[in-house]
């Protein structure tokens, strides 16, 4: 089953952005992240490939300022998936290269013309402290 055109177009757009973008399907499963996101997440998408929501939300370890783990359900993109609304947060993420980075993340739901929930996208920035 192919992806909806809105998801295909979002991936194409991501490929042309210099802003890190992380794209998931309606169940939160990772579909794609672009090259700028690879620099923050510490691994190329070609190497990770698609992942389940459970896998990616624990692989890219989210931490608060004290180094405590943030529960997966509290990161913006998972809030977007479960509540189907935008979310925003500043936190730390430990990438697959082991490096801890301070990031700011905004996530948005992707809804089709008829309102069908198709997934979500997170845009994020590395915060310079």
């Amino acid at each position: 089953m192919g992806h909806p055109i809105q998801i295909i177009l979002m991936r194409q757009l991501a490929g042309y952005l210099n802003v890190p973008l992380f794209l998931v399907g309606p169940n939160g499963d990772l579909l794609f992240y672009n090259e700028p996101a690879e620099a923050i997440l510490g691994r190329r998408f070609d190497e990770t490939g698609a992942m389940s929501a459970k896998e990616w939300s624990s692989a890219f370890t989210p931490e608060d300022s004290d180094g405590h783990l943030i529960p997966p359900e509290d990161v913006p993109l998972m809030i977007t998936i479960t509540k189907k609304r935008p979310a925003h947060q500043r936190f730390f993420i430990r990438g697959l290269d082991g490096v801890r980075r301070h990031v700011e993340v905004s996530s948005i739901p992707i809804a089709g013309l008829d309102g069908d929930f198709l997934g979500g996208a997170a845009l994020f920035w590395e915060v310079s402290d």
Partner: protein, 278 residues
């Protein structure tokens, strides 16, 4: 199924001595099932002449619009059966996120652009797509949103175990990384066109023209033939010819494409009047 092309031109009707063989009318395709069920794909300027050839006993006609750009609806108001109270007309097409299909069509079928209101036509019913597969007579129909500016669908028609896929305005190759096609589930229109017996596909541009038209929602001959190979179509008909392409140029583009791309599928010219038995 019998498929007849009544309009193969893209963007703008282009009558004239140098477009006689391929035709100057915009997108219109007639599809008859063996039992006489009639579907019309798009309502470009070709639909006026199509109307003159509809069997007199026909009591229902379904018009499947891919989208509402003018070259795909301009003929609608000149389609005689619209004014015949003995004929049920069903128009299928995409809504937008804020307007229903009927409201969108009414922007054209109302003054000052047209003297008659859509709502005043005797027996017209609008239906929105995409929706789950639906049936009209023996046809099983699938409509899916595809890559083209604004809400646009392609159609797959199946009957008697055969399939026709209609993608007249489609840019599946938009932003291909390094010109390489991605995995099938990331290709616009892939599911729709998979192993089609007949694929009627956008081929508006040459490679050179496309450079300045990226994102306009259309394909080159190369894109069309490569897409046909990706989906495993058995036969491709290049369609939606650019208004600036005359007959000789279209002959040349088709011949070159068959030679260059050595597609596994056969190719047939998208000429007005061409008939395909499926």
């Amino acid at each position: 199924m019998r498929v007849t092309l009544f309009g193969t031109r893209g963007s703008l009707a282009t009558p004239g001595a140098d477009t006689n063989r391929y035709g100057g009318n915009t997108s219109t395709v007639e599809v008859f099932a063996d039992d006489g069920t009639l579907l019309i794909l798009d309502a470009g300027t070709g639909i006026r002449r199509l109307a003159t050839q509809i069997p007199p006993a026909t009591s229902r006609i379904d018009i499947l619009l891919t989208h509402l750009h003018m070259d795909h609806i301009q003929g609608l108001g000149f389609f005689r059966p619209l004014y015949d109270p003995g004929v049920d007309i069903h128009i299928w097409g995409p809504a937008s996120s804020t307007l229903r299909l009927e409201a969108r069509l009414s922007r054209y079928l109302s003054p000052p652009l047209f003297p008659v209101h859509l709502r005043d036509l005797p027996k017209v019913v609008c239906h929105e797509v995409p929706r789950p597969q639906f049936d009209i007579g023996p046809f099983r129909i699938q409509a899916s949103l595809v890559c083209h500016p604004g809400p646009t669908v392609g159609y797959r028609l199946e009957a008697g175990g055969r399939s026709v896929v209609y993608l007249p305005d489609h840019e599946p190759a938009l932003a291909l990384p390094n010109g390489q096609w991605p995995a099938p589930d990331w290709i616009s229109g892939f599911d729709l066109a998979f192993k089609a017996d007949l694929l009627i596909h956008d081929a508006q541009y040459t490679d050179e023209e496309y450079v300045s038209c990226v994102g306009w929602g259309h394909s080159t001959y190369r894109h069309a033939f490569e897409f046909a190979a990706q989906v495993g179509a058995k036969r491709i008909v290049p369609f939606h010819h650019d208004p600036s392409h005359d007959d000789d140029m279209l002959d040349r583009l088709l011949e070159e494409s068959i030679r260059r791309f050595k597609s596994s599928c056969s190719a047939a010219a998208g000429r007005e009047g061409a008939v395909f038995g499926i």
